[in-house]
């Protein structure tokens, strides 16, 4: 089936995505970038440029380079917004015969929809090249506040570009779709979209049916964005340098360019670090010689600089809530969109207002295009084709030596699935093992939920660690768990079928996950202690075995020393001091190594005997002894 392209046609940047194997995927453009500047230009040679190439000649060809066309699409020339924007835009605009707008590029006048179409055409061509298929259909996004005429113009732009526009989708709805938030009926979602040049707030209501989304509030500022943040940092750098050196850099174009780059970099770095260095050597020079700019900007200072913008955005959110007759507590989910929302101070401000974190795990520059692709997938039937498979909500495992929960199938594993592991016995001549099936994230068996138990007996008597017992976990497509254990020597097996184990209630799963989180540190310590005890046990056991088999070849003095260390270890082994157990185990291990070396030396002096083959292929994890 032909693919439907999801397009986020943005004011400064655009992005495209498509559904592949049931998942939305961003398509890189011809230049290898995941976003394309929404800029169109006509060069002196009458060559049309779209995207990054148009942007690269914008400074020297401002009159024939059209940017921010989205601000004009579907509007009337007399609109207040258009009259305001007209002063800021470097290219010429005029009123069209029908009261709309026309922009001049080269000698020709174009309707804004035509310019948008040029951007869409590039996005379409690049996507076709990338996926190797012809694209004829698309879902294009637009802000929630777009009126009928603006939506119609967006659709027309698509049609001019050779696309059958299946839907003009609201940007906030697209973002909510990407986070899968439109499934819960009656849910109110607030989308906080802080882009490069615009700030939008939208409140969505998932009405009667899931996937039916109604916009119940819009607000924002069409001239508030990340660029303001950059400008603030630039001004600060210029001011600081002036204070320090008495030189004004604001008139020096070359220095300004370097300051701008440093400001952008500093802003990005401060999203992850608490302090950044702004280092511009040879920024300028005077009669005394070259001057260097070196400043440190802390996250706190930066937050202080941009405080007014963040506060303004929060005020706009509050106003939008008020218009929709809602309070922050009425909002179930918040979605953060736009590159600027990577700023920790913004995330913090949103959290303070709502008392909960906003959804931000998906790249905020790509979340809208991905939502458009998801909508396209739903319309194209891609979603129906995808076989929905579930994942295990919690880990599944068995209890092993020292009451440890050994996980065989980790949580979030998609089923049907089969996992097999080989275990062995924990005691000498152990003829039966108990398989205790567990569900949960805690490392100690007793802290998890027991799903079932069974006993495999009839194992031939053998030293511990020798028998090989294959334990297999199988979850079928209905979520039914089958656990089987098989003694590889005799072929004897036993199994248990556990129905309904996977499908726990959401609350139960959350409770178990939370408990695991709370006890993480304690559990880790407990597990380490058990492991230390097991190690001590194993060491003592292996010595006793060696001593029994070849004790006559070991120096008596060494044997005495080993026994002393064993006695010391046994004294602390059953207590809970992990450091003591580790240190005594280490002491014992060292003396055993000496004894081992002595044994090898004496054996090699004698005629080498035929070596006994040791069948120790089994896994480290051993069964606890059946009581």
């Amino acid at each position: 089936m032909a693919k439907i392209l999801g397009i986020d046609l943005g004011t400064t940047f655009s992005a495209t995505a498509i559904i592949e194997n049931g998942e939305p995927k961003i398509i890189e453009n011809k230049e290898g970038a995941r976003t394309t500047p929404s800029v169109v230009a006509l060069t002196k040679n009458q060559e049309r440029l779209v995207g990054v190439t148009a942007k690269r000649q914008q400074i020297t060809n401002p009159q024939n380079t059209i940017s921010s066309i989205k601000r004009l699409v579907g509007r009337r020339f007399s609109d207040k917004e258009v009259q305001n924007d007209k002063k800021l835009l470097p290219y010429e605009l005029k009123e069209a015969n029908d009261g709309g707008i026309e922009v001049k590029m080269g000698d020709k006048w174009h309707k804004p929809a035509e310019i948008s179409a040029m951007i869409l055409q590039k996005l379409k061509q690049d996507a076709e090249e990338k996926i190797g298929e012809k694209i004829t259909q698309a879902v294009i996004t637009c802000p929630a506040y777009f009126d009928d005429s603006q939506r119609k113009a967006t659709k027309i732009a698509g049609e001019i570009a050779g696309l059958d526009v299946k839907m003009v989708l609201n940007e906030p709805t697209a973002a909510a779709l990407t986070y899968g938030l439109t499934k819960t009926k009656g849910q109110q979602i607030l989308v906080y979209d802080f882009g490069g040049g615009t700030f939008d707030v939208s409140i969505l209501d998932v009405t009667k049916d899931p996937d039916t989304v109604e916009v119940i509030g819009v607000g924002g500022d069409t001239h508030l964005g990340g660029d303001d943040f950059d400008q603030k940092i630039m001004n600060w750098i210029i001011e600081e340098f002036k204070k320090d050196q008495g030189i004004d850099l604001s008139k020096d174009q070359l220095a300004l360019q370097r300051i701008k780059e440093s400001a952008e970099k500093a802003k990005i770095e401060l999203s992850t670090t608490l302090e950044t260095e702004i280092n511009i050597p040879f920024v300028t020079s005077d009669s005394s010689g070259p001057k260097h700019l070196f400043l440190k900007l802390s996250r706190a200072q930066f937050q202080n600089l941009v405080k007014e913008y963040i506060e303004k955005s929060i005020k706009l959110v509050q106003e939008t809530l008020k218009t929709a007759k809602l309070k922050p507590k009425d909002i179930e989910e918040i979605v953060l969109v736009g590159g600027q929302t990577r700023t920790p101070a913004i995330q913090e401000a949103v959290k303070n207002l709502f008392g909960k974190e906003g959804n931000k795990s998906i790249n905020p520059d790509e979340v809208v295009a991905m939502g458009a692709a998801i909508q396209a997938g739903i319309m194209g039937g891609d979603a129906k084709e995808v076989l929905l498979l579930d994942a295990t909500p919690l880990s599944l495992g068995i209890e092993t030596l020292g009451s440890v929960n050994t996980v065989l199938i980790a949580k979030n594993t998609i089923y049907p699935v089969n996992k097999t592991q080989i275990f062995s016995t924990a005691a000498e001549s152990q003829t039966s093992v108990e398989v205790h099936v567990l569900q949960g994230e805690r490392p100690m068996a007793s802290d998890n939920k027991t799903l079932g138990r069974f006993i495999l007996d009839g194992i031939p008597s053998a030293p511990r660690g020798v028998p090989q017992i294959e334990v297999s976990f199988d979850i079928d497509s209905n979520g039914i768990l089958n656990v089987s254990a098989k003694d590889k020597a005799t072929g004897k097996s036993q199994s248990i079928r556990i129905e309904g184990s996977i499908g726990m209630s959401k609350d139960e799963i959350e409770k178990m996950k939370k408990e695991a989180q709370i006890h993480e540190q304690d559990d880790k310590k407990k597990k380490e202690l058990i492991e230390a005890k097991n190690l001590a046990d194993n060491l003592i056991y292996s010595w006793e075995k060696t001593n029994k088999d070849a004790g006559d070849k070991i120096d008596e003095n060494l044997k005495k020393q080993v026994q002393e260390k064993i006695d010391e270890l046994k004294k602390v082994k059953d207590k809970d001091n992990i450091e003591e157990i580790k240190s005594k185990t280490n002491d014992l291990s060292q003396i055993i190594q000496k004894a081992g070396a002595d044994l090898y030396k004496k054996t090699s002096e004698q005629k080498p005997k035929e070596e006994k083959k040791d069948a120790k292929d089994a896994e480290e994890g051993e069964y606890k002894e059946k009581k």
Partner: protein, 159 residues
């Protein structure tokens, strides 16, 4: 007799249904298997592409440092040009250039060439004896990594 025939027909239909279902399941399973194998192939391609440009971010950061070395070199007072100590410092620049070469990073040659937005970014325009659109000054060098422009050269062009 008719009743018998009806029963037979029904059984035949049932059999046919079963066969159709079997075919459908087998087909779906094959499709799923194929799509998994295709996905694996795509992932392998994606990873190899990723590897090709995995160093891009790091290289871009090093280029920023190199830019400053170029600026320092340009501002070097005449009387220091022959200074051995300065020469040693400037050799660090050559070391970085050698490193970039080994990483398959190429410099974009631009002076006196026609402006091409695929490789250059124009930030200034000035009257000049050169043909309109010719690059007359380079403010910042541009670079190509594995045939992809990772940073355009920032230039001044003739009006």
């Amino acid at each position: 007799m008719r009743c018998m025939n009806d029963k037979k027909d029904k059984e035949k239909d049932k059999e046919q249904d079963k066969e159709n279902k079997e075919q459908e399941y087998l087909e779906n399973w094959k499709r799923e298997r194929a799509s998994f194998l295709n996905y694996k192939k795509q992932e392998a391609e994606r990873v190899s592409e990723l590897m090709k440009f995995a160093n891009q971010g790091l290289i871009l950061d090093i280029l920023d440092i190199l830019d400053n070395i170029y600026i320092a070199e340009k501002k070097l007072p005449k009387d220091l040009e022959k200074n051995e100590w300065v020469k040693g410092i400037l050799n660090i620049k050559n070391q970085i250039l050698e490193f970039l070469k080994n990483q398959r990073v190429e410099q974009i040659d631009c002076l006196k060439k026609d402006f091409d937005p695929n490789f250059h970014e124009s930030v200034e325009m000035a009257e000049s004896d050169s043909k309109s659109g010719t690059i007359i000054k380079e403010f910042k060098k541009g670079y190509i990594l594995n045939s992809k422009v990772i940073r355009p050269a920032r230039v001044k062009i003739a009006k």
